[in-house]
């Protein structure tokens, strides 16, 4: 019983925190980002899951956000951002430079 209470004390806040995070997902397929324009809340920390559904590696890169993270083929990464000021933040695929996207913080 004590273990159950302790477990609840530990996991409930974590679950609540997880619940409060809206799902921000960017899919890479055919070397393109989808959605290419993602809106996220400004002024708080956010997580974006980058899901690479291509068999080849890709790099999520953004000078505005100061991020460079490799996403292996058929794998996912989490990009931790913020708190962001309201505005738009460009990003691109470093291995396929013509593939670009933007994150809008509101």
């Amino acid at each position: 019983m004590v273990n159950l209470v302790l477990g609840a004390c530990i996991w409930l806040p974590v679950l609540c925190l997880a619940q409060s995070q809206p799902a921000n997902i960017i899919v890479i397929k055919g070397h393109q980002f989808n959605p290419a324009r993602l809106t996220v809340p400004a002024g708080r920390k956010i997580q974006i899951t980058v899901d690479n559904q291509d068999p080849t590696d890709e790099e999520f890169e953004s000078y505005d956000l100061d991020r460079e993270q490799v996403v292996e083929g058929n794998k996912k990464i989490i990009v931790y951002l913020g708190p962001l000021k309201p505005g738009s933040y460009g990003y691109w695929a470093d291995y396929h430079k013509d593939s670009k996207g933007v994150i809008i913080a509101k």
Binding site: T56, D57, D66, R67, E68, Q69, V70, V79, K85
Partner: protein, 250 residues
């Protein structure tokens, strides 16, 4: 992707060779970010050139030539050759390779997950000259982005090993702040100190303290630079020091 990297090989060889045989070249006075980039190779050249009215502290040069690789998203490893010159009464002594170093950077958390981005740096420096000693070096790497300002703190510990080694552990701190103005030009400053042995408290002026403006940036897709001039702000430090870093990523 591998083919693209192989195509870049001749350019890298030219780059590396050019800096090995041109002087003053680059030396390693680098504030390390706690980042590892998976699958990324880098060829790096860093250096310092000291200016001081005292002959024994003037024209001291130190150069590092290295090749590194991001093994995975949390481990970057690097092999490095260190070379240096020191002044004598009559002229500069010959330029010679003094150490071979194996460096490792461990990124302890994804960037942005915590309030501070943490990392660890571990290195062993093996002597190439009989009279030199080896050295273990550890650093705590911390980074904090505040909007467009990137701040990095390194806390360093050095321990010599081998015959004739100093038993005392040295400590030092280096700090870098830069404003991400443009990708090709980011102004900032650095502060460096060497507290000397932890167990022996010495006067401020016996410790080396340096600070000055630095500029960072990326030229084209692959070339990163960092150049700065550090002013000596304690007696033990040289009056001035030119420092630079060139890094080719592929």
């Amino acid at each position: 992707m591998l083919n693209n990297k192989l195509k870049a090989a001749p350019a890298i060889i030219v780059f590396f060779t050019a800096f090995i045989f041109s002087h003053p070249a680059f030396a390693e006075k680098l504030v390390y970010a706690p980042n590892a980039e998976q699958g990324e190779w880098e060829v790096e050249n860093t250096g310092v050139y000291d200016f001081d009215p005292h002959k024994d502290k003037n024209a001291i040069q130190e150069y590092h030539y290295s090749i590194g690789y991001g093994v995975n998203s949390f481990w970057h490893t690097e092999l490095e050759l260190e070379a240096e010159t020191v002044p004598t009464d009559d002229s500069i002594t010959k330029f010679q390779a003094t150490h071979m170093e194996w460096e490792n950077i461990f990124q302890l958390a994804p960037k942005g997950e915590y309030w501070l981005d943490p990392g660890i740096y571990l290195a062993y420096e093996a002597p190439l000259i009989n009279k030199q000693v080896g050295q273990f070096e550890g650093k705590i790497l911390l980074e904090k982005d505040i909007d467009k300002v990137t701040n990095i703190l390194n806390i360093s510990f050095n321990q010599e090993v081998g015959g004739g080694a100093d038993r005392h552990t040295d400590a030092g701190v280096s700090w870098s702040t830069r404003y991400r103005l443009y990708r090709f030009f980011e102004p900032g400053f650095e502060y460096w100190n060497d507290f000397s042995a932890i167990s022996h408290q010495i006067d401020y002026n016996q410790q080396s303290h340096q600070a000055g403006p630095c500029f960072y940036g990326r030229l084209g897709r692959h070339l990163n630079y960092n150049v700065g001039y550090l002013f000596g702000i304690s007696d033990a430090a040289p009056r001035g020091e030119l420092k630079w870093v060139l890094e080719y990523e592929f």
